[in-house]
Every structure is written in structure tokens, then in C-alpha cells.
């Protein structure tokens, strides 16, 4: 099982490296110089790294959020996190236009964290019985945040560019423009280290507390990890919806919810899904590209619809 997934992942990686507008010339690559070598090191490999990191990070985020909120339809896109991060970047751009990537990311981080905290406070206060209501409220919350962002962007005359660069797109990933994504690596490692705690967290506040877990502290650590990943990905590649929702669900349906065991699979699955979506996006209009925000949004959205309808039966 695990071996098969690794194989699929490896094949996707190889295809992703080989595919592109410029043909790979192997003699160049083997001599470590020339055009093909430059293409490989400056564009293809960074892109591969960015894809794998983003996919793994987003799906791990989804798992953590799902365990904190205790709802399987939750992910950064359905809790307002993505939209809050966009709003944060927008505010950073207008308040201090000269700011670098790091300070912009800081803004996104703070906004994302605040929005998630607010969302969880509202959700907890209401004590829903209904599984589906939480993502509904989250989607609405997200669209309100987006319309605030649009209001803000329109009055500063940057609406059009905002819509453009906040759509997930890996074609901008080249050497020197994606390194911030490496922050996802320690985040995923930390998540793995805390996997047992998040598993217990998913059993609810009472059980978690009686098992000796500091509930609030663990939840906040989880939210910080999520906010870090989201702000880094939105800054570097833009928003990619539904990946964090679909992958953990598919894994949970097959392998259960013991995070120590399933987290690597979730990360691998997320990376593979993004790789596949990216390859599809590069092939559809070859040699042009379809932004991954669209391909992943379409694939993930349809999968999400199928999951909801299956839940209806």
C-alpha cells in the first residue's frame, strides 16, 4: 500500500521535472552546465520542491484544523483562513508598499491567526449538532472577509491585480522566489512530533483534558502551525482551495484517524494531488499553463461535492 503510493509519487515527480516548454537535453544536464542545467536548477527543481512542500503543508493543515474543530469538512478554505491571509497581504501592501516578503508574510500570519481564533470562538460558543453547518458558516465567513478585501482593494485601485496574483499559480516559482516555502518543512515535522496530541485533541475537550492534555495550548500550537503554512503558501504561490479537505478525508476513509500513522500518508497524498493537478494544468493548453488554483480548485471541488453527496445517502 505504502510502497505503491511512494511509487506514484516518484513517477509524478519525474514527470513534473521533465515537463515544460523547453525540452530537456540530457547531455547538458549530465555535464552540469549549459541551458538545460540552468532550466533544471533555476526552474524545474524549485518548482518541484514548491509543489511538494505546498501540497504536504496544505493537507497537514487540513488535518490539524479538522482535529481542532472536530469536523471533517473543515480546511483553511472553509474556515476563512485563506481569505484572511489574502486580506492581510493586501493591508501590508497598502500600509507599507516597500515591505519585503517577510513582513508581508507576518501580516498574513497575524490576520490568518486572528481569523481562525475568531472562527473557532464562534463555533465553540454555538455548539453545533450539525456536521455540515460548520463549513457553511466558514464559507460565509470567508466570503465576508473576501468582500472586505475587495472593498479595500477597489478603493485602492488594486482589485484586478489582487484577483490575478492571489490565484494559486506555480509558474512564478523560480530560484529566489519560493524559498519562504521551506518554512513548511519544520511545520510538518512539528505536526508529526505532535501527532499523538492532535489525535487526542480530536476526541473532544473533555476526553483530551482527562487524558492530561493541555487543550487550549495544543489547539493554539495547531493554529499557529496552520497560520504559518497558509501565510507562506499564499505569499509564494497564492490560494489553493480544497486540497486540505479532500486528501485527509480520503486517507481517513482508508486508514483511520491515528495521526502518527496516517500523517505521512496525508502529506504524501497532498503532494501527489498537487503534482498531478500541476501536470494537468501544464498539459491542457501546452505550452501555456493553467494556474493550479483553477485545476486544484476544480478537481478538489468536484471531489468535495462527491463527498457531500455520499454523506447524503
Amino acid at each position: 500500500m505504502r510502497k505503491r503510493w511512494l511509487l506514484v509519487f516518484a513517477v509524478l515527480c519525474v514527470v513534473s521535472v521533465l515537463l515544460g516548454a523547453r525540452q530537456m537535453v540530457w547531455s547538458d544536464v549530465l555535464s552540469f552546465s549549459g541551458d538545460a542545467w540552468l532550466t533544471l536548477t533555476a526552474s524545474r527543481l524549485p518548482r518541484l520542491a514548491a509543489l511538494v512542500l505546498t501540497g504536504a503543508g496544505l493537507s497537514v493543515c487540513g488535518v490539524i484544523l479538522q482535529h481542532i474543530v472536530r469536523n471533517k469538512f473543515v480546511e483553511p478554505g472553509t474556515t476563512g483562513g485563506l481569505d484572511a491571509a489574502k486580506l492581510g497581504i493586501l493591508v501590508a501592501l497598502t500600509v507599507m508598499p516597500a515591505a519585503g516578503t517577510l513582513s508581508r508574510m507576518l501580516f498574513a500570519l497575524v490576520f490568518c491567526l486572528m481569523a481562525s481564533l475568531l472562527f473557532i470562538a464562534v463555533i465553540r460558543r454555538i455548539q453545533f449538532r450539525n456536521l455540515v453547518l460548520v463549513p457553511v458558516v466558514g464559507l460565509m465567513y470567508g466570503s465576508v472577509l473576501t468582500s472586505i478585501a475587495e472593498f479595500y482593494a477597489y478603493s485602492h485601485n488594486i482589485l484586478q491585480s489582487m484577483q490575478g496574483w492571489l490565484l494559486g499559480d506555480f509558474s512564478r516559482v523560480v530560484q529566489g522566489h519560493y524559498e519562504i516555502l521551506y518554512i513548511i518543512f519544520p511545520v510538518v515535522m512539528l505536526a508529526y512530533l505532535y501527532a499523538h496530541r492532535f489525535t487526542v485533541l480530536g476526541m473532544g475537550e473533555d476526553i483530551a483534558t482527562s487524558l492530561g492534555l493541555g487543550y487550549a495550548a495544543t489547539a493554539i500550537i495547531g493554529l499557529v502551525l496552520v497560520a504559518l503554512t497558509i501565510s507562506a503558501t499564499v505569499i509564494a504561490v497564492g490560494a489553493i482551495p480544497f486540497v486540505g479537505l479532500v486528501v485527509p478525508q480520503l486517507v481517513a476513509m482508508r486508514c483511520g484517524e491515528n495521526l502518527r500513522r496516517t500523517l505521512p500518508l496525508v502529506a504524501l497524498g497532498g503532494a501527489s494531488l498537487l503534482l498531478a493537478c500541476d501536470i494537468a494544468g501544464r498539459l491542457v493548453m501546452y505550452p501555456f499553463e493553467v494556474p493550479i488554483g483553477l485545476t486544484a480548485g476544480a478537481v478538489g471541488g468536484v471531489m468535495f461535492l462527491v463527498l457531500i453527496v455520499r454523506g447524503l445517502r
Binding site: 453547518l133 460565509m140 468582500s147 472593498f151 477597489y154 478603493s155 493548453m285 493553467v290 461535492l305 447524503l312
Partner: protein, 318 residues
């Protein structure tokens, strides 16, 4: 304390008259050659758009028997926009003008009809008892269809893209007097049909089983109303653009204002409320925000917040 219904109606009529007057005259310099006729055209498209939004939302809520779903939430507008983008991709601007306004409208209505029947067969029957599942499905469906629309947008040429951009946001400026005339006739016919069957609508609001046991052929009227909704949504989307959460806002204000459930009062009041909101938003954009924002952003903001509050407050009690 609740105002008595007659008072509410008077108040609504008065406020809309004032708003309309302000909209037409404010800062016009009483220029009857250019400014005022232009504004009257816009006023007409606001009125027709408002009627379409209100009637389609309220009738749809009767059909699905709950007060949270509206056609735009269930993806009607998204389908319309996708269809317009597809037309541009397949035929180009040239082909679109060949098809003409009427041809385009007719085909759009047919498509929306198909969509609403598909929705009816596939979803509404199955999830009749679970509003929130339908709501989630609607929201996600809207997002997915929007993604496909964006994808089509990537394929069309920049000139056609500009044409499409004009369709995809709320605006009262795009209608021409001639189109407005046809739209007005279509809306008048639709409203006449609704008016003739007002009593049936009241019975349908009781629920499917009750309606059947009271002798209303539920299936037949369902088809009729679905067709009407398809026409109205196509009209409003082509005239004023997508309105997202506007319908739900209007419908719920009407439910709060009217103490009973007689559609003879609710539908006209809904139209008045919708027109008043459009007028107020347009006035705000023109005179307060000085074109620093748009009607659709304003409406989305206000109605979105209201909708969120509505869901959170009602919890599972819908």
C-alpha cells in the same frame, strides 16, 4: 413593537418614492436632455432587476420550503455566467452578436431550465430534509462552476474577455432601452402568471404533503414555478449581473415585516425592498463613496454579514 402592515406598506412606498426621486434628481442640474433620461433608464433596470431578484428568491424559498436557500446560492447565476463565457469561447463576439439578444436570452433560459430540473431531480428530492447539506452543496457548486468559468476566461481572447467582464459584476448601466422593453414585457408576463396563481403559492408554502392533500397538483406547479424562476434569474443576471446574497436578504426582511404568510402582500413588498436596496446602494456609491466602491461589493458586504448572522443565530433550527 411591530408596525401595522398597512403602515409598513405606506412607509415602504414612501421611502422608495423618495429614493427614486433622489436617484433621478440629485446633482442632475435638472438637465432633461441627457442626465435625467439616462438616469430613468437606469432606474428602469433597477426596478426590473429588483422585481426579478425578489420574486425569484421568495418563490424559490416556497418551493424548497426553507428560508435560507435562494437561486443564486444554488448556483443559478454561476451557471448563467459559465454559459456566457462558453458562448464567447465557442462563437466569439461576432457569433454572439449573430445570435442576437433574443437568441442568447432564449438559449440561456433553456439552459437554466435544464439546470434547475437537474437540481430538482438530483438534489432537492434527496436532501429535502437537510437544509444545510443543500446549502453547502450550493456554495461549493457555485465555487466549482466559478472555477470552470475562470478556466474558460483563460481561453478567450482579451477583447472577448472585456465583453465578459462587463457581464460578470453588478451594474445598472449596461441595459439599453430596447432590451429593457423586452425585459419589462417578460417580467410583466411572469408576474401576471404568479399573480394568477397566488393562492396556489400560499398552499405550496404549507409543504408538499399538505399541498397535495389540499388538492394542488404539486408536480405540475413545481415545473411551472421552476420555469418562472429560470426566466427571472436569467433576466436579472443579464440586466444587473450576479447579486449573490441579495435574494436571501430581501426575503428575510419581508418575513420579518409581514406577520402572516400571504404572498399577495409578501411578493410586492419584497420587490419594494429589493428596489430600495439597489437604489440605496447606487446612491451610496455615487454620492457617499464617490465611486470608490461598486454596488456589488457593497451589497455583498452587507448581505453577506447579514446572512452569516442569520445562520449563526438560527443554529440548527431552520
Amino acid at each position: 413593537m411591530r408596525m401595522s402592515l398597512t403602515k409598513t406598506c405606506w412607509f415602504a412606498a414612501l421611502s422608495i418614492a423618495l429614493l427614486a426621486l433622489a436617484f433621478v434628481l440629485l446633482g442632475s442640474g435638472l438637465d432633461t436632455d441627457y442626465v435625467i433620461p439616462k438616469r430613468l433608464v437606469r432606474l428602469a433596470s433597477i426596478v426590473i432587476g429588483g422585481i426579478c431578484v425578489a420574486v425569484s428568491a421568495i418563490v424559490f424559498q416556497v418551493l424548497v420550503n426553507n428560508r435560507i436557500l435562494t437561486p443564486s446560492i444554488m448556483g443559478y447565476e454561476a451557471v448563467y455566467l459559465l454559459w456566457q463565457a462558453m458562448l464567447l469561447l465557442l462563437l466569439g463576439t461576432h457569433g454572439l452578436s449573430m445570435l442576437g439578444v433574443h437568441g442568447n436570452f432564449l438559449v440561456s433560459v433553456l439552459l437554466m431550465l435544464t439546470y434547475s430540473w437537474a437540481l430538482q431531480w438530483w438534489l432537492l428530492r434527496r436532501g429535502r430534509n437537510d437544509v444545510y447539506v443543500l446549502l453547502l452543496l450550493g456554495l461549493v457548486l457555485t465555487m466549482v462552476i466559478g472555477t470552470f468559468t475562470q478556466f474558460v476566461q483563460l481561453r478567450i481572447s482579451p477583447g472577448e474577455f472585456a465583453v465578459f467582464q462587463g457581464v460578470s459584476y453588478t451594474s445598472f448601466n449596461r441595459a439599453k432601452p430596447q432590451t429593457l422593453l423586452y425585459a419589462a414585457i417578460a417580467v410583466a408576463v411572469a408576474c401576471a402568471v404568479v399573480r394568477k396563481t397566488l393562492a396556489v403559492l400560499d398552499v405550496l408554502a404549507l409543504g408538499r404533503e399538505q399541498a397535495i392533500s389540499l388538492g394542488v397538483p404539486h408536480g405540475r406547479y413545481l415545473q411551472l414555478y421552476l420555469a418562472l424562476i429560470a426566466i427571472l434569474v436569467a433576466l436579472s443576471t443579464s440586466l444587473v449581473g450576479p447579486t449573490a446574497f441579495m435574494g436571501i436578504f430581501v426575503a428575510n426582511i419581508v418575513y420579518a415585516l409581514v406577520p402572516h404568510a400571504r404572498h399577495r402582500v409578501m411578493l410586492p413588498l419584497g420587490c419594494v425592498v429589493a428596489i430600495a436596496i439597489f437604489l440605496a446602494a447606487q446612491l451610496l456609491v455615487e454620492h457617499v463613496f464617490n465611486y470608490k466602491t461598486t454596488v456589488s461589493i457593497l451589497v455583498n458586504l452587507v448581505c453577506g454579514v447579514y446572512f452569516l448572522a442569520l445562520i449563526v443565530r438560527k443554529r440548527g433550527a431552520a
